[in-house]
Amino acid sequence: MTVQLLAGQLLLGLINGSFYALLSMGLAIIFGLMNVVNFAHGAQYMIGAFTAWFLLTNFGVPYWAALVIAPLIVAALAMIMERLLLRPLSNLDHLYGLLATYAIALIVEGLVRQRYGATGIPYDSPIKGGIHLGFMFLPWYRLWVVVFSIVTCVGTWFLIEKTRLGAYLRAANEMPQIVESFGINVPKMITLTYGFGAGLAALSGVLAAPIYQVSPSMGSNVMIVVFAIVVIGGMGSISGAIITGYLLGIVEGLTKIVYPEGANMVVFVFMAAALMWRPDGMMKSN
């Protein structure tokens, strides 16, 4: 094994882990407040990437603007979806929320594939070049993805765990009636949270566009892995989702060196192990 190979796979793992962390964090936030397993998360990620590509090819909107605009568009659509679809289902069994978001994912992915085909569309990297580190070549864009993802994850974690707004969110999850009696509009908070989670997914999508190709199935492929990660980290645990996301990205990368055929299975093996060893999730102390 060469240093180049090791470093290369570690970087790739860290990149994948950045997306796993961002996506599983969004899922955990939505689940934490709404008890909805957002199956449309992958579709929202894919739509983020497609919006960026669409804005670039049709209106010449550059990457940096798309990084702001695409998440806002997806968040707005998601909030409409929450109001019209998820809220009426919110007092039923939680499985209806999951199935409704699954249906949306099917429709959205199907429509995009029908319109644009199944093949991936390349999206030019906005930052060209990179740096020779002696043992490997590090493209600037990949460095940007890792740094940006870490900053976003830590920032979101801080927002939810350490600020007043986050305290309201956590309280609304535990006791919505009481929080409401303090004059806080809980339904509005739920709508905004869902929009925020979906916006995060779209942000990850734009971020992913120059690395992976923009394709209709990019979301559903990553989605199942992200589900496993959320299960490992403990449902609803934001720090658990973030840490497990990065770790398993790296584990996946390392597996590619040792046993390439097992790379896309290793996450599920870890999930099985976690279920055996810590049935309540890695980050839950009780």
Binding site: A103, L106, F227, M265, V269
Partner: protein, 317 residues
């Protein structure tokens, strides 16, 4: 009671003469998926567990049955049992882990396990990878009866389906079925009666998986091929749609659901993505407006229609 018997008799006659008018392979597909949807219904409709990974049992069993038939000259029914056995063992293992997390997480865990199984099947040498397993022979039934012709084979599939659905009926109406329903309604109550809900859920999961395995095994012999699609997550989604569309927790609902979805897929087969889009739209409409499903809504309508009539009768009496 007589009415039920009459309906059953009409359905039986219809099933017996159907292949004269309708392409037998289409009918057999419907029957396979009717078993598959019933297996799923046992789990979600009666035990309240949403499995999003039932394709792993369906697909694996299809491959195993196919492999047995391709490599040995064993009789057909034993090959079907072989496929079922493997999916049952698989469920016994997966169930041990998946049952540990309550509620909606069960769906995510089963989905993740089924994706794992999908990758294993993709890489295993006996499955033929992306190409799938082609040319599965229909060995003679009991080593005697030739079933190579699809018209004849239809009656075998019909008999097996009838048997499977009867089994499902017996399970659901047994004390075990009652306990499952009780767990679905109020789990703590069942626990307080000294029973262990986990064990019942586990058993329901394993039973459901062996029925799903039977469906997959039959499918492999009907089409004479097994592909990765059989084990992929869209199939897990499809069986959910069939069950909900037909009527969750009803006996005949999943059969109707299976028939509607199979025919829809058949009709929209040449239209690219529209089959999947239509599935999504139907699922959405069912979830939002008709959660009782096709059979459930009709039963509710009939009950509504009967009730006022009864009260009128009471008034006149």
């Amino acid at each position: 009671m007589n009415k039920t018997l009459l309906i059953a008799a009409v359905a039986l006659v219809a099933a017996l003469i159907a292949p004269v008018y309708i392409y037998p392979v289409l009918l057999m597909t419907i029957l396979c998926f009717a078993i598959f949807a019933s297996s799923f219904n046992l789990l979600l409709g009666y035990a309240g567990l949403l499995s999003f990974g039932h394709a792993m049992f369906f697909g694996t069993s299809a491959y195993i049955t196919g492999y047995i038939l391709k490599t040995t000259s064993i009789s057909l029914e034993l090959a079907l049992l072989g496929g079922m056995l493997v999916s049952t063992i698989m469920a016994a293992l997966v169930g041990l882990l998946a049952i540990r997390r309550a509620g909606i997480q069960f769906a995510m865990i089963t989905l993740a396990f089924s994706q794992f199984v999908y990758f294993v099947l993709l890489q295993a040498s006996f499955t033929g990878g992306e190409n799938g397993m082609q040319g599965i022979p229909r060995n003679a039934l009991f080593g005697l009866i030739d079933v190579k012709d699809s018209f004849h084979f239809y009656y075998v599939v019909l008999a097996v389906s009838a048997l499977a659905l009867f089994l499902f009926y017996r399970i659901v109406n047994s004390p075990f079925g009652e306990i499952l329903r009780a767990i679905k309604d109020k789990e703590p109550r069942v626990e307080s009666l000294g029973m262990k809900p986990e064990q019942f859920k586990y058993l329901a999961f394993v039973l459901s998986a062996s029925l799903a395995g039977l469906a997959g095994a039959l499918k492999a012999t009907v089409f004479q091929f097994a592909t990765l699609t059989d084990a992929s997550w869209p199939i897990s989604g499809e069986v959910i749609l069939m069950t909900l569309l037909g009527g969750l927790g009803t006996l005949s609902g999943p059969m109707f659901g299976a028939a509607i979805v199979v025919i829809l897929n058949d009709e929209l087969a040449g239209l690219g993505e529209w089959a999947l889009i239509a599935q999504g739209v139907i699922l959405l409409v069912v979830i939002v407006f008709f959660r009782r499903g096709f059979v459930g809504e009709i039963a509710a309508l009939l009950a509504k229609w009967k009730k006022p009539a009864k009260s009128e009768a009471e008034v006149t009496a």
